[in-house]
C-alpha cells in the first residue's frame, strides 16, 4: 500500500499570505530509516513537519504517512506518529513520570498500561533517577529525552524529530543521538530536521536538502559530502605577498586545487588525511618563514552545501556577511 515508504509527499504547497512556505515540496522516506531534512531557518522544514504530523492543513499537493492520507485520515495518522518539536513539548510543572502517564492515558492506554509504559520508558531513556522530580529542574538533554519518550509511548511507525538538538550542549546532543539510534534499531522510521550537516551525517542514511520551500537535493550523506568536497584545510597568512607561497605549500597536501582569497589572505583546499596535512603545512610554512595568522581544519557546513547546490549562501550567512 505504501511501497516501502513510511512518508511520501508530492508537490506540497503551503502559503502564509504572500509567502510560500512550501512551494512544490517532494519527499520520500523509506521505512525503517532515518531521513534527514536539512535546511536553514525559514527554508520550510518546520512547515513540512507540521503538515506531515497533521498540525497544519496543506494548501496543495498530497502527503501520506504510514500509508494514510494526512488530510483525510488525520486521526488515524495521529495514532501512528510521534512528534518531538523544537520546544520540548512536555509539561514543566509535572514530574517526568506524571508526564508520561498523562500522555499514556491520552493515548488511550488506560491507567494501568499507562503507568507500566511510563516506568518502561523512563528506564529506557535513563530517566529513572529523575522520574519523580519536576521537569522544570531537568537539564536540556534530559528534557529532550523525556520529550522523545513521550513521542514513543505508542511505539509509533514514524517519528518526527524537529531540530531535536538545537540549543543543546555537545554532551546532551550525544545523548539524544544515542536515543534516536536505539529507536531506529527497533524499527521506527525517523524524519529528522536539522540545520547541522554533521547531525544529518551522523544519523541519517539519506538527506533531503530544502531551500525556499522546495527540495533541491536528495542524496546519501556521502553523496552530499562529495559534492562539497569533504574536509578542508585553511590557512590565513599575515602578509599579502605570502599568499602565493602558502598556495604552493597547501597544494602539496591537498586533494584538489587550493583556492585563495587575496583580501582575507586566506588559502584553503580539500584534504583527506586531515591531521597529517595540518602538521605538514604548519611545519613547512614555519620553515619557509611565512607568518601565519591562523591555521586549521574545517568540516563542510550546511552553508558549503548550499553554496554548491544553489550558488547562494544561507540567509544566516548572508546576514552575517551584511553585518560584517
Amino acid at each position: 500500500m505504501n511501497d516501502g515508504y513510511a512518508v511520501r509527499a508530492e508537490a506540497l504547497e503551503k502559503r502564509y499570505g504572500e509567502k510560500r512556505a512550501l512551494d512544490g515540496f517532494d519527499l520520500a522516506v523509506r521505512e525503517g530509516t532515518v531521513h534527514g531534512l536539512l535546511g536553514p531557518n525559514g527554508a520550510g522544514k518546520t512547515t513540512a513537519v507540521r503538515i506531515l504530523s497533521t498540525l497544519v492543513r496543506l494548501d496543495g499537493g498530497r502527503a501520506t504517512v504510514a500509508g494514510l492520507d494526512v488530510a483525510r485520515q488525520a486521526r488515524e495518522v495521529r495514532a501512528r506518529i510521534g512528534l518531538t518539536g523544537q520546544y520540548a513539548a512536555v509539561d514543566e510543572v509535572l514530574t517526568g513520570r506524571q508526564n508520561l502517564e498523562m500522555f499514556g492515558r491520552l493515548f488511550h492506554l488506560g491507567g494501568r498500561r499507562a503507568r507500566a509504559r511510563a516506568t518502561e520508558l523512563l528506564e529506557r531513556f535513563d530517566l529513572t533517577d529523575a522520574a519523580d522530580k519536576g521537569v522544570g529542574g531537568y537539564s536540556g538533554g534530559m528534557r529532550r529525552r523525556l520529550d522523545l519518550a513521550a513521542s514513543m509511548i505508542l511505539a509509533p511507525a514514524v517519528l518526527f524529530l524537529d531540530e531535536p538538538t538545537t540549543g543543546l550542549d555537545p554532551r546532551s546532543r550525544g545523548e539524544v543521538w544515542e536515543a534516536v539510534r536505539a529507536l531506529v534499531a527497533d524499527g521506527t522510521t525517523v524524519l529528522l530536521t536539522t540545520q547541522y550537516l554533521e547531525e544529518a551525517d551522523k544519523l541519517a542514511s539519506r538527506i533531503t536538502v530544502i531551500d525556499q520551500g522546495r527540495a533541491i537535493a536528495d542524496d546519501t550523506p556521502d553523496g552530499l559530502k562529495n559534492l562539497v568536497g569533504g574536509d578542508r584545510i585553511e590557512v590565513v597568512v599575515a602578509e599579502r605577498s605570502d599568499v602565493p607561497r602558502a598556495v604552493k605549500v597547501v597544494a602539496r597536501v591537498a586533494d584538489g586545487e587550493p583556492e585563495s582569497d587575496d583580501t582575507e589572505l586566506r588559502v584553503h583546499a580539500p584534504v583527506s588525511d586531515r591531521v597529517a596535512a595540518l602538521t605538514e603545512v604548519a611545519r613547512t610554512l614555519q620553515d619557509e618563514g611565512v607568518r601565519v595568522e591562523d591555521i586549521g581544519l574545517r568540516r563542510p557546513s550546511l552553508d558549503d552545501v548550499f553554496l554548491r547546490l544553489t550558488g547562494h549562501r544561507t540567509d544566516v550567512a548572508r546576514t552575517k556577511e551584511a553585518a560584517a
Partner: protein
C-alpha cells in the same frame, strides 16, 4: 520492543473518549495546583488582602447607600473580583501551553482536541469552587453572616456562572497574546475593569458618567445579585440594570459566552492554518 500490548485502545464509543480525555486534562490541571500549592495561595492572596485592607482600614470610612455594614457589602464583591481575575489564570495557562508546544503535542495525538479546551474550563471551575469556599470561610471568620439556604446556593451558582463565561475570554486571549509575559500584562487591564464596578463602592457614589459605566459593568450585576441573595446590603441604585441585577447576572455571562466561546474555538481551529 515493549513487554506491553500497545495495540489500540479498548473498545469504547467516541463520547467515552471525549469525556476520558477531558478528565485527563482536568487531572493535569489539578496536579499543577497540587505540585505548586503556592499558586493557589497567590491567587487567593490578593482578594484576601483586599478584604483585610478595605474591610478593616477603610471600612469605617466607607458608606453603603441605604445603610448597612460596609464589610457585609464588600464580601460578595470580593468573591466577584476573584471570579473576574480568574480569566487571567486561564489565559496564562493557555498561552504557556501554546507557546511551549504542549498544545501542539496534544493536537498531534489521537485524542479529542475539544478536550484540550473543555478540560481547561472544567479545571478552572473546580479551582473556582475551592477559591470561593476558602474566601467564604475567611469572610465568615471576619464576621460576615449571609442568609443560608437556596439563596446562598443560587449566589454561589451565579458566581460560578460568571467564572464560566470568563473562561472563554481567557482561552481566547491566551491564544491571542504572543508570550506568557504579555499575559502578565492582562492584570493591568483587569484591575481598572474591576474597580469601575460595584465591587468596592456603590455606583451611585461615583461621578454620574462613571457610575453609569460601573452599573453596566457585567460584574456589577453578579455582585448586586449575590448581595441580594446573600441577604447583605446591596447598595441600591435606581438605574434599570441595577434594578434587574438578578436577571442581568444571568444574562451578562450568557452574552459573554455567546461572543467569546465561538471566538476561542475559532482561534483554536486557526492553529491548523
Amino acid at each position: 520492543m515493549s513487554a506491553l500490548d500497545l495495540t489500540g485502545p479498548a473498545a469504547h464509543g467516541r463520547t467515552y473518549w471525549v469525556l476520558a480525555d477531558c478528565w485527563n486534562i482536568v487531572r493535569r490541571g489539578l496536579t499543577h495546583y497540587r505540585r505548586q500549592p503556592v499558586n493557589i495561595a497567590w491567587q487567593l492572596g490578593f482578594p484576601i488582602l483586599s478584604v483585610l485592607l478595605y474591610g478593616y482600614v477603610f471600612g469605617s470610612a466607607m458608606k453603603v447607600p441605604g445603610g448597612g455594614d460596609y464589610q457585609d457589602f464588600l464580601m460578595p464583591g470580593m468573591f466577584v473580583m476573584t471570579m473576574a481575575f480568574g480569566f487571567i489564570n486561564t489565559a496564562t495557562v493557555v498561552v504557556y501551553d501554546s507557546t511551549k508546544g504542549v498544545i501542539d503535542r496534544f493536537r498531534s495525538m489521537p485524542m479529542a482536541s475539544s478536550a484540550v479546551v473543555a478540560g481547561r474550563g472544567v479545571t478552572d471551575l473546580v479551582v473556582a469552587c475551592a477559591e470561593l469556599a476558602i474566601m467564604m470561610l475567611t469572610a465568615l471568620a471576619m464576621g460576615w453572616r449571609p442568609d443560608g439556604g437556596w439563596g446562598f446556593l443560587a449566589a454561589f451558582g451565579l458566581l460560578l456562572w460568571l467564572r464560566f463565561a470568563l473562561i472563554w475570554i481567557g482561552v481566547w486571549l491566551g491564544l491571542l497574546v504572543p508570550n506568557p509575559e504579555a499575559a502578565g500584562g492582562l492584570f493591568a487591564v483587569a484591575f481598572p475593569l474591576t474597580m469601575i464596578s460595584s465591587i468596592f463602592v456603590a455606583p451611585q457614589l461615583m461621578p454620574d458618567w462613571l457610575g453609569w459605566v460601573a452599573a453596566w459593568n457585567p460584574i456589577s450585576s453578579t455582585a448586586a445579585a449575590a448581595r441580594d441573595l446573600f441577604g447583605t446590603p446591596v447598595g441600591g441604585g435606581d438605574s434599570w440594570v441595577e434594578q434587574h441585577a438578578l436577571l442581568m447576572a444571568g444574562v451578562w455571562p450568557l452574552v459573554l459566552t455567546a461572543v467569546f466561546l465561538p471566538l476561542a474555538v475559532r482561534r483554536f481551529q486557526r492553529l491548523s492554518r
